[in-house]
Symmetry: C2
Subunit: 476 residues, 2 copies
């Protein structure tokens, strides 16, 4: 067995170690000198850029603009909204010294920007003509986490955070839902990740929000990942920050605000949904390298094979992101393992026999199958294959989500499934039940799924009256 | 006079106040709650995005990749390179508390990332096969400045910082020059800003660099702005951070490193180079709005004029970034002033007489001239006019740079020009002369311009032997 492959713990054996191996060996990240911080290496950052491009296009198409708000927030500002500060202050990193002097007031590195944005909006908004305000920012935030994992939960992470103000409650709700749909599109169209959309229970809601919409995705080990959230903030922040406008009827009113975000945690989700024992499997649309050409040649056959590969790379380059692996120092077998670990969706192998037959051998990363492709049509068949792979990865993930979505009537049933999967059951709506569930099983209420009604078969925890349909799972 | 226009102090009267007025009234920025910090509002951020796009394309075309390194740097790491820490430590903001607890070691918010990048590179680089490493990052940095001005000098700013490692000195020098050329391209091609390229004197060099290349641009008030810099770091950081590789000859060697950056300060330069008494003048390539259509109609003529304007907007939208200002509540005069202040390069006025004549009246922001354009060819003539305006702004700035580039033999001659402009003269190379000049005139050595030799007419300060040709100026 090859040394590259050996370096990865099989996913089936130890999922957590597999994940740690993959993110490092595939050059996605490295640990920074400060605990909990990571370096996002180029291969992973490129995927993040595809995500940025997709979201920017959707945000812009619906009238949003990008801006940039400051990194540091005065303590007095951060503490203005009561629930918000309670939720975030334990996780804050504080700047206390600047330019060689102790600061008169501590400054928080933003854990999120509702407060600083709220302060600015209160200055900019005066009339109903100033509304809606639809602003997004791409930024870094810091939350001092106790337990961290690369991408999934890091002390600093990158994200986008949208902050909007609307004239009416209905408009703000519609914005919240529109942005949830943008995230669902991102997961579905680009990342090939199916997800359950729902509303967070009060206990899991964003600090200061009236309603938090969420997308919950199922990871390879049967745990949930909150992939993105969209918050309807009601008038909580508008009141705390005096965001008021003179309406057309001459009455001074508070605005209705929303916020919504998606972060580099999505990179962790991408790895954990699609990866297998051989490493990453990247959906073609976000693969920095979509196709790798590997020559299979010994001695005298090297020259014509390499010449063909070089030419093939040039032919394919206008259509796909392609690399020709011409490295002399590695065997084809080593290269196969190396590129498989990095999740390249399609490998084209070219040997003397392929040359003679006027074909290349294509190996699909999604299903491992090899097929012969005629040389003449590669500019067409290769992009088609990539489309197939994109769909196939989504379908594989969907099938898994369906298989691991289990209706229950009593939470003990989840134990029979080793707590792997999304457990659908009724909930009485009491936090005490949610707490008990978490204490006993480590499972939480991931969301109250949209479009689902309780079965009225009783709360899966206390057997009391059903109030909501809920998805229970262990989560990252 | 209109209230918008009145709100701007004339540039000729008080340049500093004019600048402050423009950046606020044109909605480019607002002051944040913490002194020295600003909010970059959407109109300015859009310009920054055009800059990002241009640079990213150039960086990528020369093999660079984007990545992300952490915001926080441990104190021990920041202090590893002696000159570097001396230069930056007075400006550092320190995080001392995280997650409710005092940290065992203070963490610096990055003032620049050579140290953290150096630490990571030392782990990643082992063999000559790993070189070159060509990485760029888009990020925020914090430098605790005493005197701040919007965009030009802010405590936090956005920038890109490139960090590369090379096998040889020659390669690293060539990289440094290549990136300087990328910045020159940005200024010339996109921002319509002419600049002098040169080398920094030792006193003005980046802390830790062997050589700093700079682009110096001339602002509207005759002062210089350092627009971007590219540093050849020799082996200073490679030695401080143990960036070593086994070369092909089996010898362990230190790498040669470079770093280079351009920041949101460029937005300040853009404003100060092109702005006039009426406000901003934006080069079309970076104008968020390139064309504004303003209807001139009273009473009954409104309907056909507005219908025409709406249709015109739709015709032009595939070709240029166009807005139809249909606001009822403002007069055409108000709108003219408003869009002029925001620097929109081209205004199309449409009145009943224009309609009857099958034309629109185009007003150029760069020269204030109005010309009639035939309706039938607008899809062609409007983009052509924008190209002309782009060139014209560059030529105006170039003419000013030429006019205010003054050869001197004694630094007192600069006083006759009220110290406005770039003064070219010989310099003996002694820091004591540079210090005396700065003390007496506030002028500094901006650079030793590339391709220029000393005249051998003696140092303009001490009249001692000429060693360098230098550009002297007051600077932002």
């Amino acid at each position: 067995m090859d040394k590259v492959l050996k370096a990865i713990t099989p996913k089936s054996e130890d999922f957590s170690q597999w994940y740690t191996d993959v993110v490092r060996k595939a050059d996605l990240m490295d640990y920074a000198p400060v605990k909990g911080f990571i370096v996002i290496r180029p291969y992973a950052y490129r995927i993040w850029e595809f995500i940025q491009k997709y979201l920017d296009a959707r945000f812009q198409a619906t009238g949003h603009e990008n801006a940039y708000f400051p990194l540091l927030i005065p303590e007095t500002l951060l503490t203005r909204e009561a629930e918000h500060v309670e939720g975030f202050s334990p996780e804050v990193a504080w700047v206390t010294v600047g330019g060689g002097e102790a600061l008169s007031e501590r400054l928080a590195i933003r854990p999120t920007s509702e407060t600083i944005v709220g302060e600015m909006y209160s200055r900019w908004i005066h009339s109903y003509r100033d509304l809606p305000v639809l602003i997004n920012q791409w930024s870094n935030v810091v939350r001092w986490e106790k337990a961290t994992r690369p991408f999934l939960r890091t002390t600093e992470f990158l994200w986008q955070e949208g902050h909007t103000v609307h004239r009416t409650k209905a408009e703000a709700l519609s914005e919240t839902e529109q942005q949830l749909e943008a995230y669902r599109g991102l997961l579905h169209d680009l990342l090939a990740i199916p997800a359950v959309t729902g509303i967070k229970s009060a206990g899991e809601r964003f600090a200061g929000a009236v309603q938090t919409y969420t997308l919950e995705a199922l990871m390879g080990d049967g745990r949930a990942l909150q992939a993105a959230t969209s918050h309807f903030l009601g008038q909580n922040f508008a009141k705390a920050f005096n965001i008021q406008f003179l309406d057309e009827d001459g009455v001074l009113k508070h605005g209705w605000t929303t916020s919504w975000g998606a972060s580099t945690r999505l990179l962790g989700g991408l790895i954990m949904v699609h990866g297998d024992d051989r490493g990453l499997r990247l959906p073609p649309l976000v693969a920095p390298i979509q196709v790798v050409i590997v020559p299979i040649a010994k001695g005298g056959s090297g020259e014509p094979v390499n010449a063909y590969c070089q030419k093939l790379k040039e032919r394919l380059a206008p259509h796909v992101r392609v690399v020709f692996d011409a490295r002399d120092e590695f065997t084809p077998g080593y290269k196969f393992n190396d590129w498989e670990m990095r999740g390249v969706p399609l490998r084209l192998e070219v040997g003397p026999r392929d040359l003679a037959a006027g074909q290349v051998t294509a190996a699909r990363r999604d299903i491992g199958a090899k097929i012969a492709l005629a040389d003449g049509e590669l500019e067409v068949t290769v992009p088609q294959l990539l489309e197939d792979i994109q769909k196939s990865l989504y379908e594989q993930a969907s099938a898994k989500l369906r298989a691991e979505s289990v209706p229950i009537h009593d939470y003990h049933e989840a134990m029979e499934h080793d707590r792997r999967g999304f457990f659908y059951g009724d909930w009485c709506g009491e936090q005490v039940c949610a707490d008990r569930l978490q204490e006993e099983t480590s499972m939480t209420i991931r969301c109250l799924p949209l479009g689902e009604e309780p079965e009225d078969s009783g709360c899966v925890i206390c057997q009391g009256p059903s109030r909501h349909r809920a998805v229970f799972a262990r989560a990252y």
